[in-house]
Protein backbone atom coordinates (compact mmCIF):
# COMPACT_ATOMS: atom_id res chain seq x y z
CA UNK A 1 0.00 0.00 0.00
CA UNK A 2 1.06 3.56 -0.59
CA UNK A 3 2.03 5.56 2.41
CA UNK A 4 -0.91 7.93 2.76
CA UNK A 5 1.12 10.57 4.59
CA UNK A 6 1.70 13.74 2.55
CA UNK A 7 3.30 16.10 5.04
CA UNK A 8 5.52 15.12 7.97
CA UNK A 9 6.38 17.77 10.51
CA UNK A 10 8.90 16.79 13.17
CA UNK A 11 10.22 18.77 16.13
CA UNK A 12 9.35 22.08 14.56
CA UNK A 13 10.29 25.24 16.45
CA UNK A 14 9.28 28.58 15.05
CA UNK A 15 9.71 32.00 16.60
CA UNK A 16 8.77 35.48 15.59
CA UNK A 17 10.72 38.27 17.27
CA UNK A 18 11.85 35.92 20.07
CA UNK A 19 8.27 34.79 20.79
CA UNK A 20 7.70 31.09 20.15
CA UNK A 21 4.80 30.27 17.86
CA UNK A 22 5.64 26.59 17.52
CA UNK A 23 7.56 24.65 20.14
CA UNK A 24 8.52 21.09 19.30
CA UNK A 25 5.43 20.66 17.14
CA UNK A 26 4.75 17.36 15.38
CA UNK A 27 2.12 16.70 12.78
CA UNK A 28 1.29 14.22 10.03
CA UNK A 29 -1.13 15.08 7.30
CA UNK A 30 -2.68 12.46 5.04
CA UNK A 31 -2.92 12.78 1.28
CA UNK A 32 -6.15 14.01 -0.34
CA UNK A 33 -7.74 15.19 2.86
CA UNK A 34 -8.79 18.51 4.29
CA UNK A 35 -7.05 19.29 7.56
CA UNK A 36 -8.29 22.21 9.60
CA UNK A 37 -6.13 24.14 12.07
CA UNK A 38 -8.09 25.99 14.71
CA UNK A 39 -7.17 28.10 17.72
CA UNK A 40 -7.57 31.60 19.09
CA UNK A 41 -6.46 34.53 16.93
CA UNK A 42 -2.88 35.63 17.13
CA UNK A 43 -1.62 32.22 18.14
CA UNK A 44 0.25 31.74 14.86
CA UNK A 45 -1.99 29.60 12.67
CA UNK A 46 -1.36 31.72 9.59
CA UNK A 47 2.33 31.84 10.33
CA UNK A 48 2.33 28.06 10.53
CA UNK A 49 0.89 27.84 6.99
CA UNK A 50 3.75 30.04 5.82
CA UNK A 51 6.32 27.51 7.05
CA UNK A 52 5.00 25.01 4.51
CA UNK A 53 5.87 27.13 1.47
CA UNK A 54 8.77 28.90 3.15
CA UNK A 55 7.00 32.22 2.83
CA UNK A 56 8.09 32.86 6.43
CA UNK A 57 11.58 33.61 5.09
CA UNK A 58 10.33 36.90 3.65
CA UNK A 59 9.22 38.10 7.09
CA UNK A 60 11.98 39.76 9.10
CA UNK A 61 12.63 38.55 12.62
CA UNK A 62 11.58 34.93 12.16
CA UNK A 63 13.51 31.77 13.05
CA UNK A 64 12.77 28.14 12.27
CA UNK A 65 14.23 24.83 13.40
CA UNK A 66 13.13 21.29 12.74
CA UNK A 67 12.06 19.14 9.82
CA UNK A 68 9.23 19.54 7.36
CA UNK A 69 9.01 16.82 4.74
CA UNK A 70 6.51 16.85 1.93
CA UNK A 71 5.91 14.03 -0.53
CA UNK A 72 6.15 15.39 -4.06
CA UNK A 73 5.53 12.90 -6.87
CA UNK A 74 5.88 10.00 -4.46
CA UNK A 75 9.14 11.12 -2.85
CA UNK A 76 9.65 12.87 0.44
CA UNK A 77 11.56 16.13 0.24
CA UNK A 78 12.94 18.08 3.16
CA UNK A 79 11.66 21.48 2.05
CA UNK A 80 14.27 23.54 3.86
CA UNK A 81 17.07 21.65 2.15
CA UNK A 82 19.29 24.21 0.44
CA UNK A 83 19.29 22.14 -2.75
CA UNK A 84 15.52 22.12 -3.07
CA UNK A 85 14.56 25.10 -5.26
CA UNK A 86 12.31 27.58 -3.53
CA UNK A 87 10.27 28.48 -6.61
CA UNK A 88 9.56 24.78 -7.32
CA UNK A 89 8.28 24.44 -3.76
CA UNK A 90 6.04 27.48 -4.03
CA UNK A 91 4.66 26.26 -7.34
CA UNK A 92 3.75 22.90 -5.77
CA UNK A 93 2.30 24.40 -2.59
CA UNK A 94 -0.37 26.95 -3.49
CA UNK A 95 -1.66 29.50 -1.01
CA UNK A 96 -4.85 31.52 -0.71
CA UNK A 97 -4.97 34.44 1.67
CA UNK A 98 -7.64 35.76 4.01
CA UNK A 99 -8.62 38.76 1.91
CA UNK A 100 -8.98 38.20 -1.83
CA UNK A 101 -5.91 39.77 -3.47
CA UNK A 102 -6.26 39.83 -7.25
CA UNK A 103 -3.62 41.86 -9.03
CA UNK A 104 -4.88 44.94 -10.87
CA UNK A 105 -5.04 43.14 -14.23
CA UNK A 106 -7.81 41.53 -16.18
CA UNK A 107 -9.21 38.16 -15.20
CA UNK A 108 -7.18 36.21 -17.73
CA UNK A 109 -4.01 38.03 -16.72
CA UNK A 110 -4.58 37.19 -13.07
CA UNK A 111 -5.18 33.49 -13.57
CA UNK A 112 -2.34 33.07 -16.07
CA UNK A 113 0.11 35.14 -13.99
CA UNK A 114 1.78 32.13 -12.30
CA UNK A 115 2.30 30.53 -15.74
CA UNK A 116 4.01 33.71 -16.89
CA UNK A 117 6.22 33.65 -13.80
CA UNK A 118 7.14 30.04 -14.55
CA UNK A 119 8.23 31.04 -18.07
CA UNK A 120 5.31 29.36 -19.86
CA UNK A 121 5.01 30.81 -23.37
CA UNK A 122 2.51 28.89 -25.52
CA UNK A 123 -0.52 31.17 -25.81
CA UNK A 124 -3.02 28.54 -26.99
CA UNK A 125 -2.22 26.10 -24.20
CA UNK A 126 -2.29 28.97 -21.73
CA UNK A 127 -5.93 29.65 -22.57
CA UNK A 128 -6.75 25.95 -21.98
CA UNK A 129 -5.00 25.96 -18.62
CA UNK A 130 -6.82 29.15 -17.58
CA UNK A 131 -10.16 27.58 -18.51
CA UNK A 132 -9.33 24.41 -16.55
CA UNK A 133 -8.28 26.37 -13.47
CA UNK A 134 -11.36 28.59 -13.57
CA UNK A 135 -13.59 25.52 -13.91
CA UNK A 136 -11.96 23.85 -10.93
CA UNK A 137 -12.57 27.04 -8.94
CA UNK A 138 -16.27 27.11 -9.95
CA UNK A 139 -15.82 30.46 -11.65
CA UNK A 140 -15.70 29.66 -15.38
CA UNK A 141 -19.43 30.01 -16.09
CA UNK A 142 -19.55 33.42 -14.44
CA UNK A 143 -16.56 34.94 -16.21
CA UNK A 144 -16.07 33.07 -19.50
CA UNK A 145 -17.49 35.97 -21.52
CA UNK A 146 -15.47 38.69 -19.82
CA UNK A 147 -11.96 37.40 -19.34
CA UNK A 148 -10.62 40.79 -20.44
CA UNK A 149 -12.41 42.67 -17.70
CA UNK A 150 -10.59 44.10 -14.71
CA UNK A 151 -10.52 41.47 -11.96
CA UNK A 152 -11.19 44.12 -9.33
CA UNK A 153 -14.73 44.52 -10.69
CA UNK A 154 -15.68 41.02 -9.50
CA UNK A 155 -17.57 40.52 -6.25
CA UNK A 156 -15.67 39.50 -3.13
CA UNK A 157 -16.61 35.85 -3.43
CA UNK A 158 -15.72 35.79 -7.12
CA UNK A 159 -12.40 37.46 -6.38
CA UNK A 160 -11.58 34.81 -3.81
CA UNK A 161 -12.45 32.03 -6.27
CA UNK A 162 -10.27 33.83 -8.82
CA UNK A 163 -7.42 33.67 -6.31
CA UNK A 164 -8.10 29.96 -5.82
CA UNK A 165 -8.03 29.48 -9.61
CA UNK A 166 -4.76 31.39 -9.74
CA UNK A 167 -3.31 29.14 -7.04
CA UNK A 168 -4.57 26.04 -8.89
CA UNK A 169 -3.27 26.80 -12.37
CA UNK A 170 0.17 25.36 -11.65
CA UNK A 171 -1.56 22.19 -10.42
CA UNK A 172 -0.14 22.27 -6.89
CA UNK A 173 -0.21 19.11 -4.81
CA UNK A 174 -0.97 21.05 -1.66
CA UNK A 175 -3.23 24.05 -1.17
CA UNK A 176 -2.96 26.24 1.93
CA UNK A 177 -5.96 28.38 2.79
CA UNK A 178 -5.80 31.08 5.44
CA UNK A 179 -9.39 31.72 6.59
CA UNK A 180 -10.52 31.86 2.96
CA UNK A 181 -14.14 32.76 3.70
CA UNK A 182 -13.80 35.13 6.63
CA UNK A 183 -14.21 38.27 4.50
CA UNK A 184 -17.19 36.90 2.55
CA UNK A 185 -20.93 36.62 3.14
CA UNK A 186 -22.26 33.15 4.09
CA UNK A 187 -23.58 32.40 0.60
CA UNK A 188 -20.27 33.16 -1.12
CA UNK A 189 -18.53 31.20 1.63
CA UNK A 190 -20.75 28.15 1.01
CA UNK A 191 -19.72 28.02 -2.67
CA UNK A 192 -16.07 28.05 -1.66
CA UNK A 193 -16.61 25.31 0.93
CA UNK A 194 -18.25 23.16 -1.72
CA UNK A 195 -15.40 23.62 -4.15
CA UNK A 196 -12.81 22.85 -1.48
CA UNK A 197 -14.44 19.49 -0.77
CA UNK A 198 -14.34 18.81 -4.49
CA UNK A 199 -10.64 19.68 -4.70
CA UNK A 200 -9.75 16.88 -2.27
CA UNK A 201 -9.48 14.44 -5.18
CA UNK A 202 -6.47 16.22 -6.60
CA UNK A 203 -4.96 18.14 -3.69
CA UNK A 204 -4.14 17.93 -0.05
CA UNK A 205 -5.72 20.92 1.64
CA UNK A 206 -4.83 22.71 4.85
CA UNK A 207 -7.27 25.29 6.07
CA UNK A 208 -7.05 27.73 8.94
CA UNK A 209 -10.52 28.60 10.14
CA UNK A 210 -12.31 30.41 12.90
CA UNK A 211 -15.72 28.95 12.21
CA UNK A 212 -16.55 25.73 14.03
CA UNK A 213 -19.46 24.96 11.76
CA UNK A 214 -17.29 25.42 8.69
CA UNK A 215 -14.68 23.09 10.14
CA UNK A 216 -17.36 20.52 10.85
CA UNK A 217 -18.69 20.74 7.30
CA UNK A 218 -15.45 20.44 5.38
CA UNK A 219 -12.61 19.04 7.46
CA UNK A 220 -11.55 15.40 7.70
CA UNK A 221 -9.13 16.03 10.53
CA UNK A 222 -8.91 18.90 12.98
CA UNK A 223 -6.00 20.10 15.07
CA UNK A 224 -5.93 22.86 17.59
CA UNK A 225 -2.78 24.91 17.88
CA UNK A 226 -2.18 25.37 21.59
CA UNK A 227 1.02 26.29 23.42
CA UNK A 228 3.08 25.73 20.30
CA UNK A 229 1.83 22.19 19.65
CA UNK A 230 -0.86 20.54 17.55
CA UNK A 231 -3.56 18.86 19.61
CA UNK A 232 -5.95 16.56 17.73
CA UNK A 233 -9.58 17.51 18.17
CA UNK A 234 -12.47 15.12 17.80
CA UNK A 235 -14.74 17.57 16.06
CA UNK A 236 -17.80 15.35 16.24
CA UNK A 237 -17.95 16.25 19.93
CA UNK A 238 -18.43 19.91 19.18
Amino acid sequence: MNDPVKIKIEHLFFSYRDRFVLRDANLRIAENTITAIIGPSGIGKSTFLMTLNRLWETIPGTKLQGRIEIKFQGQFQEIHNRNYPLTTLRRSVGMVFQTPNPLPMNIFGNVSFPLKLAGFRQKSKMADRVEQALKRAYLWDEVKDRLNEDALLLSGGQQQRLCIARALILEPEILLLDEPTSSLDPKAGAVIEELLVNLKNSCTLLIVSHYQDQVQRVADTVFELAEGKFVPVDFRQY
Binding site: T87, L103, G109, F113, A167
Partner: protein, 293 residues
Protein backbone atom coordinates in the same frame (compact mmCIF):
# COMPACT_ATOMS: atom_id res chain seq x y z
CA UNK B 1 -13.74 74.59 24.49
CA UNK B 2 -12.60 71.83 22.12
CA UNK B 3 -15.43 72.75 19.76
CA UNK B 4 -14.20 76.30 19.76
CA UNK B 5 -10.64 75.16 19.08
CA UNK B 6 -11.86 73.00 16.22
CA UNK B 7 -13.63 75.98 14.67
CA UNK B 8 -10.51 78.11 14.99
CA UNK B 9 -8.41 75.36 13.44
CA UNK B 10 -10.77 75.04 10.49
CA UNK B 11 -10.78 78.80 9.89
CA UNK B 12 -6.98 78.81 10.15
CA UNK B 13 -6.71 76.03 7.54
CA UNK B 14 -9.03 77.91 5.21
CA UNK B 15 -6.99 81.08 5.57
CA UNK B 16 -3.76 79.19 4.80
CA UNK B 17 -5.33 77.67 1.70
CA UNK B 18 -6.60 81.05 0.55
CA UNK B 19 -3.23 82.73 1.10
CA UNK B 20 -1.60 80.06 -1.05
CA UNK B 21 -4.21 80.41 -3.78
CA UNK B 22 -3.89 84.19 -3.66
CA UNK B 23 -0.11 83.93 -4.03
CA UNK B 24 -0.42 81.70 -7.09
CA UNK B 25 -3.13 83.90 -8.58
CA UNK B 26 -1.00 87.02 -8.01
CA UNK B 27 2.05 85.50 -9.68
CA UNK B 28 0.09 84.29 -12.70
CA UNK B 29 -1.97 87.44 -12.89
CA UNK B 30 1.05 89.70 -12.73
CA UNK B 31 2.91 87.67 -15.35
CA UNK B 32 -0.08 87.68 -17.69
CA UNK B 33 -0.67 91.41 -17.14
CA UNK B 34 2.94 92.28 -17.88
CA UNK B 35 3.76 89.75 -20.55
CA UNK B 36 0.67 88.55 -22.34
CA UNK B 37 0.81 91.42 -24.84
CA UNK B 38 4.26 90.35 -25.99
CA UNK B 39 3.52 86.64 -26.42
CA UNK B 40 3.11 86.22 -30.15
CA UNK B 41 4.88 84.52 -33.01
CA UNK B 42 7.21 87.50 -33.32
CA UNK B 43 8.48 86.97 -29.74
CA UNK B 44 9.21 83.36 -30.55
CA UNK B 45 10.52 83.55 -34.09
CA UNK B 46 11.70 87.16 -34.47
CA UNK B 47 11.93 88.20 -38.08
CA UNK B 48 12.30 84.66 -39.40
CA UNK B 49 9.26 82.91 -40.82
CA UNK B 50 7.99 80.20 -38.38
CA UNK B 51 8.09 77.47 -41.06
CA UNK B 52 11.72 78.16 -41.91
CA UNK B 53 12.61 78.27 -38.23
CA UNK B 54 10.83 75.01 -37.36
CA UNK B 55 12.48 73.23 -40.28
CA UNK B 56 15.82 74.68 -39.12
CA UNK B 57 16.33 76.27 -42.56
CA UNK B 58 17.08 79.71 -41.18
CA UNK B 59 18.52 80.96 -37.91
CA UNK B 60 16.26 82.81 -35.49
CA UNK B 61 18.09 85.86 -34.17
CA UNK B 62 15.69 88.04 -32.23
CA UNK B 63 13.33 85.31 -30.98
CA UNK B 64 12.94 82.80 -28.15
CA UNK B 65 12.70 79.73 -30.38
CA UNK B 66 16.31 78.56 -29.80
CA UNK B 67 15.89 79.04 -26.03
CA UNK B 68 12.66 76.99 -26.06
CA UNK B 69 14.37 74.17 -27.98
CA UNK B 70 17.34 74.38 -25.62
CA UNK B 71 15.14 74.16 -22.52
CA UNK B 72 13.14 71.22 -23.91
CA UNK B 73 16.36 69.45 -24.87
CA UNK B 74 18.09 69.99 -21.55
CA UNK B 75 15.02 68.90 -19.53
CA UNK B 76 14.39 65.80 -21.66
CA UNK B 77 18.04 64.76 -21.52
CA UNK B 78 18.49 65.29 -17.80
CA UNK B 79 15.25 63.55 -16.85
CA UNK B 80 16.23 60.82 -19.32
CA UNK B 81 19.54 60.36 -17.51
CA UNK B 82 18.00 60.62 -14.04
CA UNK B 83 15.01 58.28 -14.43
CA UNK B 84 16.80 54.95 -15.03
CA UNK B 85 19.54 55.64 -12.48
CA UNK B 86 17.06 57.04 -9.94
CA UNK B 87 14.56 54.21 -10.20
CA UNK B 88 17.27 51.56 -10.07
CA UNK B 89 18.82 53.19 -6.99
CA UNK B 90 15.41 53.53 -5.36
CA UNK B 91 14.69 49.83 -5.96
CA UNK B 92 18.10 48.96 -4.52
CA UNK B 93 17.43 51.12 -1.43
CA UNK B 94 13.99 49.65 -0.80
CA UNK B 95 14.53 46.02 -1.69
CA UNK B 96 18.20 45.14 -1.30
CA UNK B 97 20.11 47.60 0.91
CA UNK B 98 19.99 46.74 4.63
CA UNK B 99 21.44 48.03 7.88
CA UNK B 100 24.43 50.35 7.84
CA UNK B 101 24.80 50.55 4.06
CA UNK B 102 21.21 51.67 3.71
CA UNK B 103 21.59 54.28 6.42
CA UNK B 104 24.79 55.71 4.93
CA UNK B 105 23.35 55.82 1.40
CA UNK B 106 20.12 57.40 2.61
CA UNK B 107 22.11 60.02 4.47
CA UNK B 108 24.12 60.76 1.32
CA UNK B 109 20.97 61.16 -0.79
CA UNK B 110 19.51 63.55 1.76
CA UNK B 111 22.69 65.62 1.68
CA UNK B 112 22.66 65.58 -2.13
CA UNK B 113 19.05 66.80 -2.06
CA UNK B 114 20.16 69.71 0.10
CA UNK B 115 23.16 70.78 -1.99
CA UNK B 116 22.53 74.26 -3.45
CA UNK B 117 22.18 74.16 -7.21
CA UNK B 118 25.02 76.63 -7.75
CA UNK B 119 27.36 74.09 -6.13
CA UNK B 120 26.09 71.39 -8.49
CA UNK B 121 26.73 73.85 -11.31
CA UNK B 122 30.27 74.32 -10.09
CA UNK B 123 30.68 70.55 -10.01
CA UNK B 124 29.49 70.36 -13.63
CA UNK B 125 31.87 73.13 -14.63
CA UNK B 126 34.79 71.37 -12.91
CA UNK B 127 33.80 68.10 -14.59
CA UNK B 128 33.80 69.81 -17.99
CA UNK B 129 37.25 71.24 -17.38
CA UNK B 130 38.56 67.89 -16.18
CA UNK B 131 37.20 66.10 -19.24
CA UNK B 132 38.54 68.88 -21.49
CA UNK B 133 42.05 68.46 -20.09
CA UNK B 134 42.24 64.69 -19.78
CA UNK B 135 39.97 63.22 -22.45
CA UNK B 136 39.16 65.45 -25.35
CA UNK B 137 39.72 69.09 -26.14
CA UNK B 138 36.29 69.00 -27.80
CA UNK B 139 34.52 68.81 -24.44
CA UNK B 140 33.63 72.11 -22.83
CA UNK B 141 30.54 73.40 -20.99
CA UNK B 142 27.70 72.21 -23.23
CA UNK B 143 24.21 70.78 -23.41
CA UNK B 144 25.57 67.37 -22.40
CA UNK B 145 27.40 68.65 -19.31
CA UNK B 146 24.34 70.70 -18.29
CA UNK B 147 22.06 67.68 -18.56
CA UNK B 148 24.40 65.51 -16.52
CA UNK B 149 24.63 68.15 -13.79
CA UNK B 150 20.86 68.69 -13.73
CA UNK B 151 20.41 64.91 -13.55
CA UNK B 152 22.61 64.88 -10.43
CA UNK B 153 20.53 67.73 -9.01
CA UNK B 154 17.22 65.84 -9.36
CA UNK B 155 18.42 62.27 -8.69
CA UNK B 156 17.62 62.38 -4.95
CA UNK B 157 13.97 63.22 -5.65
CA UNK B 158 13.53 60.22 -7.95
CA UNK B 159 15.51 57.87 -5.70
CA UNK B 160 13.64 58.82 -2.54
CA UNK B 161 10.18 58.82 -4.11
CA UNK B 162 10.83 55.39 -5.67
CA UNK B 163 12.18 54.06 -2.39
CA UNK B 164 9.30 55.35 -0.27
CA UNK B 165 6.67 54.26 -2.79
CA UNK B 166 8.05 50.71 -2.65
CA UNK B 167 8.50 50.68 1.12
CA UNK B 168 4.95 51.87 1.72
CA UNK B 169 3.36 48.98 -0.18
CA UNK B 170 1.34 46.82 2.20
CA UNK B 171 3.07 43.67 3.41
CA UNK B 172 0.32 41.49 1.88
CA UNK B 173 1.02 42.92 -1.60
CA UNK B 174 4.61 41.76 -1.36
CA UNK B 175 3.49 38.19 -0.67
CA UNK B 176 1.02 37.75 -3.58
CA UNK B 177 3.47 36.96 -6.35
CA UNK B 178 6.06 35.34 -4.09
CA UNK B 179 3.46 32.82 -2.91
CA UNK B 180 2.79 32.00 -6.57
CA UNK B 181 6.41 31.12 -7.20
CA UNK B 182 7.83 34.46 -8.28
CA UNK B 183 11.51 35.15 -7.76
CA UNK B 184 12.49 38.33 -5.98
CA UNK B 185 13.25 40.07 -9.27
CA UNK B 186 9.97 38.93 -10.87
CA UNK B 187 8.10 40.23 -7.85
CA UNK B 188 9.80 43.62 -8.16
CA UNK B 189 9.27 43.91 -11.92
CA UNK B 190 5.74 42.52 -12.22
CA UNK B 191 4.10 43.63 -8.99
CA UNK B 192 6.04 46.04 -6.80
CA UNK B 193 7.14 48.62 -9.41
CA UNK B 194 3.78 48.71 -11.26
CA UNK B 195 2.02 49.10 -7.91
CA UNK B 196 4.20 52.04 -6.91
CA UNK B 197 4.24 53.86 -10.25
CA UNK B 198 2.17 56.80 -9.05
CA UNK B 199 4.63 57.44 -6.23
CA UNK B 200 7.58 57.13 -8.59
CA UNK B 201 5.97 59.55 -11.04
CA UNK B 202 5.43 62.16 -8.36
CA UNK B 203 9.22 62.20 -8.05
CA UNK B 204 9.59 62.46 -11.82
CA UNK B 205 7.18 65.42 -11.95
CA UNK B 206 9.17 67.16 -9.23
CA UNK B 207 12.35 66.46 -11.20
CA UNK B 208 10.88 67.90 -14.41
CA UNK B 209 9.84 71.08 -12.62
CA UNK B 210 13.24 71.46 -11.03
CA UNK B 211 15.11 70.89 -14.32
CA UNK B 212 12.91 73.36 -16.17
CA UNK B 213 13.38 76.21 -13.73
CA UNK B 214 16.94 75.76 -12.58
CA UNK B 215 19.22 78.58 -13.70
CA UNK B 216 22.27 78.29 -11.48
CA UNK B 217 23.36 74.93 -12.85
CA UNK B 218 23.01 75.80 -16.53
CA UNK B 219 24.58 79.22 -15.97
CA UNK B 220 27.89 77.50 -15.18
CA UNK B 221 27.65 74.52 -17.49
CA UNK B 222 26.87 75.73 -20.96
CA UNK B 223 23.88 78.06 -21.27
CA UNK B 224 24.69 81.30 -23.09
CA UNK B 225 22.73 84.32 -24.26
CA UNK B 226 23.02 83.65 -28.00
CA UNK B 227 23.80 80.32 -29.59
CA UNK B 228 21.00 79.37 -31.93
CA UNK B 229 19.19 76.02 -31.97
CA UNK B 230 21.58 73.35 -30.59
CA UNK B 231 22.70 70.95 -33.34
CA UNK B 232 24.67 68.56 -31.14
CA UNK B 233 25.03 67.52 -27.51
CA UNK B 234 28.42 69.10 -27.26
CA UNK B 235 27.62 72.73 -28.05
CA UNK B 236 26.55 75.67 -25.96
CA UNK B 237 22.84 76.44 -26.05
CA UNK B 238 20.19 78.96 -25.09
CA UNK B 239 17.64 78.28 -22.36
CA UNK B 240 14.55 80.14 -21.16
CA UNK B 241 15.45 80.49 -17.45
CA UNK B 242 18.84 81.84 -18.44
CA UNK B 243 17.21 84.29 -20.87
CA UNK B 244 14.83 85.48 -18.15
CA UNK B 245 17.70 85.94 -15.72
CA UNK B 246 19.78 87.73 -18.35
CA UNK B 247 16.97 90.08 -19.39
CA UNK B 248 15.92 90.91 -15.83
CA UNK B 249 19.48 91.82 -14.85
CA UNK B 250 20.43 93.89 -17.91
CA UNK B 251 17.38 95.03 -19.84
CA UNK B 252 17.89 98.24 -21.81
CA UNK B 253 14.29 99.33 -22.30
CA UNK B 254 10.69 98.54 -21.33
CA UNK B 255 10.18 96.42 -24.44
CA UNK B 256 13.01 94.05 -23.52
CA UNK B 257 11.62 93.71 -20.00
CA UNK B 258 8.18 92.74 -21.33
CA UNK B 259 9.77 90.14 -23.58
CA UNK B 260 11.28 88.73 -20.35
CA UNK B 261 7.74 88.42 -18.93
CA UNK B 262 6.67 86.82 -22.18
CA UNK B 263 9.50 84.30 -21.84
CA UNK B 264 8.30 83.50 -18.28
CA UNK B 265 4.83 82.74 -19.59
CA UNK B 266 6.29 80.48 -22.27
CA UNK B 267 8.46 78.73 -19.65
CA UNK B 268 5.38 78.04 -17.53
CA UNK B 269 3.59 76.69 -20.58
CA UNK B 270 6.49 74.37 -21.41
CA UNK B 271 6.44 73.18 -17.80
CA UNK B 272 2.70 72.48 -18.02
CA UNK B 273 3.21 70.64 -21.31
CA UNK B 274 5.92 68.45 -19.76
CA UNK B 275 3.72 67.67 -16.73
CA UNK B 276 0.94 66.70 -19.10
CA UNK B 277 3.23 64.44 -21.12
CA UNK B 278 4.55 62.88 -17.90
CA UNK B 279 1.10 62.11 -16.55
CA UNK B 280 0.00 60.67 -19.90
CA UNK B 281 3.13 58.52 -19.91
CA UNK B 282 2.31 57.36 -16.40
CA UNK B 283 -1.15 56.27 -17.48
CA UNK B 284 0.29 54.52 -20.53
CA UNK B 285 2.99 52.79 -18.50
CA UNK B 286 0.53 51.73 -15.80
CA UNK B 287 -1.77 50.30 -18.42
CA UNK B 288 1.04 48.40 -20.16
CA UNK B 289 2.55 47.19 -16.90
CA UNK B 290 -0.67 45.99 -15.33
CA UNK B 291 -3.35 45.26 -17.86
CA UNK B 292 -1.64 43.42 -20.69
CA UNK B 293 -2.60 39.77 -20.50
Amino acid sequence: MSRCMERILIVFCWICGLVLLAAIATIFGYLLYQGLGTVNLRLIFGNTSPVDALLLRKHVFAGLFPAMVGTLAVVTLSVGFAIPVGIASGVYMAEYARGGVKWVLGFCFDILAGVPSIVIGLFGFALAIFLHKHFSAGIYPSLFISSLSLAVLVLPYIIRSTQFALENLPAETRLIAVALGATKLQNIVYVLIPKSLSGIFSGVILAIGRCTEDTAVILLTGAVAFAGVPKSLFVQYEALPFYIYYISSQYANQQELSSGYGASIILLMICALLFFVASMTQKGVTYRALYRA
